[in-house]
Amino acid sequence: MRVTERLVFENASRNTGRARTAAEEARQALARGTRVEHPGDDPAKAGLILAHRMSADRLTAISGATSAAADEIGAADSALDGVSTALSRARELTVQLSNATYSASERQDGAKEVDGLLAQVVSSLNARVGNRYIFGGTKDDAPPFQTDGSYTGDHADRKVEIAPGVTQQANVRADVALKGYDEASQTYDSQKDVLATLQRLGAALRANDVTGVQGTLDGLQAGITQVANARAQAGVSMSTFDSATSAAQIASDRDRVNAGKMSDVDIADASIQLQATQTALEASYAATAQSFRLSILSYLK
């Protein structure tokens, strides 16, 4: 090959330019910490990185929702625990005051305690999480249970997504557990209405009606069982939501790790690459300078 001045200088410019570009790209990748920034850097990975990130975001949101649902069911369970305690105490009073040895005055005192228990149950059933009344179904902006024992919430289920496209009931149906609401007939079963039973107990005690007091025993026992069943169901739901939270978080973390693996620079590799390109750049400079020094002009006198 015939070597000309333009060839020497053009090649020098081109080769040092390439070496410098490679070194600069390696430096930038290391400084930036990512190897895919523009989609053109690696089209397939660019799409996958976004897919993983969006999936991670979705799973994080699901995890947040299921975690909140689990917290809410925990709050419901705690409230039902209070109801259960109150009902147990009411049953004790019923058994105790059904005995003929107790006086009317003592039954009056018992009636007052039952009134307090009723108020305590109503208060528990008007539990809130944040600004929501958790036992009111979807009508959650006002206390669902009134002091007279009536229920003003609705009969709707709340559902929370536990995995993409999969939902799970997230509320405890106090209208079913404590008021005996029957979905099929859309009516209340008075025999299962725990609040009405408490009211009947209070009234019987005030009237010193021993038979009436005894008549509430089955209803109270049934109520305790209903609440226990509702709590058992809440426990299952809480477990489901806890599992869902854990699964979504793990899946989200896995997506973020995968996205990171594809987008983030391996520091060791990037450092080696930077060193290699800098060495190549220095070699290119040295070779270029050497070729510039070689000229017949240095020898002609």
Partner: protein, 478 residues
């Protein structure tokens, strides 16, 4: 017998010839770095002997024969195409790499806006009556619309920037074409005097190279010594001493078309993309190729997502009892009829219709009379809205896959353009290196040539000195 005066005369001619050799070497050195310059070679010729002495011819020295250029026509014929291809793919690659609206690291990009929208929706579904969460979701919806707006406007800005670049390139091409046409005339006139106008030929070649780079133009030499220039596809740009001109004209899509007025004055005619090469072709290709496709796909995604969300939203009820309201514009009034869909511009026009968070239709159940508003915690319609994230859009993909695909496809176009630019650039570099090697100036060679001419000049001077001495000897005879 060769007389001494003839020797002096021959020596004088030879001195002039050596001076021409030196001058040519000097000219080469002076132009060692001139782009497009081809080294010149001064060829000396022996002056035909005019005198025969005792049957032998006595030479009369040397004279300058020709000054030719060192040019490899085979190489030069390949270079315009290589330059055009390299310029095309480089312009396309540079344009696509300069667009950062779909970057993976862009925190304000489409993917994060879509994720933000559905994350806020999921939070709202937990507590549909909460005013703070409603306001937050409305904000996320507005952010999503703004992100579609900014992505679309970013793509359009990039395309408009390429319009401006194409307009400038069209002007440069016209200037270069006029220069070639004028040089055709000047070269024809110079050749009329019998000599080869090497420097004019170099200058014309330089302009032809520029035309190849700018427009992918190829040259067709004529028997008269002109070169005609054609654009890819054979459209004439230069015909002898006449040049065509390129200009731009606005088209219906808000961008510029390239039009040509032909060398014969006819036109202007709009050039198809197949007639555009070089930097101009690459610029137009980036504008109407990957960027346009990305814009169309973003529009399609905006339209499909808005339609899916609106369809679910319109079926639900707001806290205030409102129903049938779209969340986003543009809305598709007939979701099942694709024939009336106006997809173009959907992303740039996307906005949130609802301004009152209470109108966000999270409830699926109608208000039960006498109530006029739904239960505040009813989030059954929110579930339907959440389902749009996984729903298959008319494009055949869900929203997440659609975003990934848009980015991936744009990335593939960019990576392909870059690969072509690297490959075409390497071919161009190789060919121009070969041309530089053959036609370029070597200082070493020219210095040696100068030394050669200097030595010969000194020797001829010695001949003159000797002949002069001999003449003096004769003149001093008594």
């Amino acid at each position: 017998m060769a007389d001494l005066l003839s020797i002096l005369s021959g020596a004088a001619t030879s001195l002039a010839a050596q001076r021409a050799v030196l001058a040519t070497a000097g000219h080469n050195i002076n132009n060692a770095n001139t782009p497009g310059y081809s080294r010149q070679i001064a060829s000396l010729e022996t002056i035909t002997p005019a005198e025969q002495v005792n049957g032998a011819f006595i030479g009369r020295g040397a004279t300058l024969g020709t000054v030719t250029q060192a040019r490899d026509r085979f190489l030069e014929a390949q270079i315009p195409r290589a330059m055009g291809d390299a310029a095309f793919s480089t312009a396309q690659s540079d344009a696509l790499q300069a667009f950062h609206g779909l970057d993976v690291t862009d925190a304000g990009g489409l993917s994060s806006a879509v994720s933000g929208f559905f994350t806020s929706l999921r939070a709202l579904a937990q507590n549909a009556g909460d005013p703070g969460l409603r306001a937050s979701f409305l904000g996320a919806a507005q952010a999503l619309a703004r992100t579609f707006n900014s992505t679309a406007s970013g793509i359009e800005s990039a395309r408009s920037g390429l319009d401006a670049q194409a307009s400038g390139l069209a002007g440069q091409i016209t200037t270069e074409a006029q220069a070639v046409a004028q040089l055709n005339v000047q070269i024809r006139q110079a050749r009329g005097s019998g000599a080869e106008p090497n420097d004019l030929l170099d200058l014309r070649q330089k302009h032809l190279d520029k035309l190849a780079e700018l427009a992918g133009a190829t040259t067709v030499p004529t028997s008269e010594g002109d070169v005609n220039v054609t654009l890819p596809g054979g459209v004439a740009l230069v015909a002898g001493g006449r040049a065509g001109s390129l200009s731009t004209t606005a088209n219906g899509s808000g961008h510029l078309d390239i039009q040509i007025r032909l060398p014969d004055g006819s036109g202007p005619t709009i050039l198809s993309s197949s007639a555009l090469g070089g930097s101009l072709g690459g610029t137009i290709s980036a504008r109407d190729g990957a960027l346009k496709t990305a814009g169309e796909r973003v529009d399609q995604l905006a339209f499909d997502l808005a339609r899916a969300v609106n369809s679910a939203h319109e079926a639900g009820y707001g806290l205030d009892g409102s129903t049938g309201l779209a969340l986003f514009t543009p809305d598709d009034p007939t979701p099942n009829d694709v024939t009336d869909d106006v997809v173009a511009g959907a992303a740039s026009q996307m906005s949130v219709v609802i301004t009152d968070p209470a109108q966000l239709a999270m409830a699926g159940g109608a208000p039960v009379p006498p109530a006029t508003t739904p239960a505040p915690g009813d989030a059954s319609n929110a579930s339907l809205l959440i389902a749009t994230e996984s729903a298959t859009l008319p494009s055949g993909k869900d929203v997440q896959s659609a975003v990934s695909d848009i980015v991936s496809q744009f990335g593939t176009s960019t990576a392909n353009a870059k690969a072509y630019a690297d490959q075409d650039g390497a071919i161009e570099d190789h060919l121009t290196s070969l041309r530089d090697s053959y036609s370029g100036v070597s200082i070493d060679e020219e210095m040696i040539t100068m030394q050669q001419a200097q030595r010969a000049y000194e020797a001829i001077a010695k001949v003159i000195q000797t002949a002069d001495g001999m003449l003096e000897t004769l003149l001093n005879l008594r």
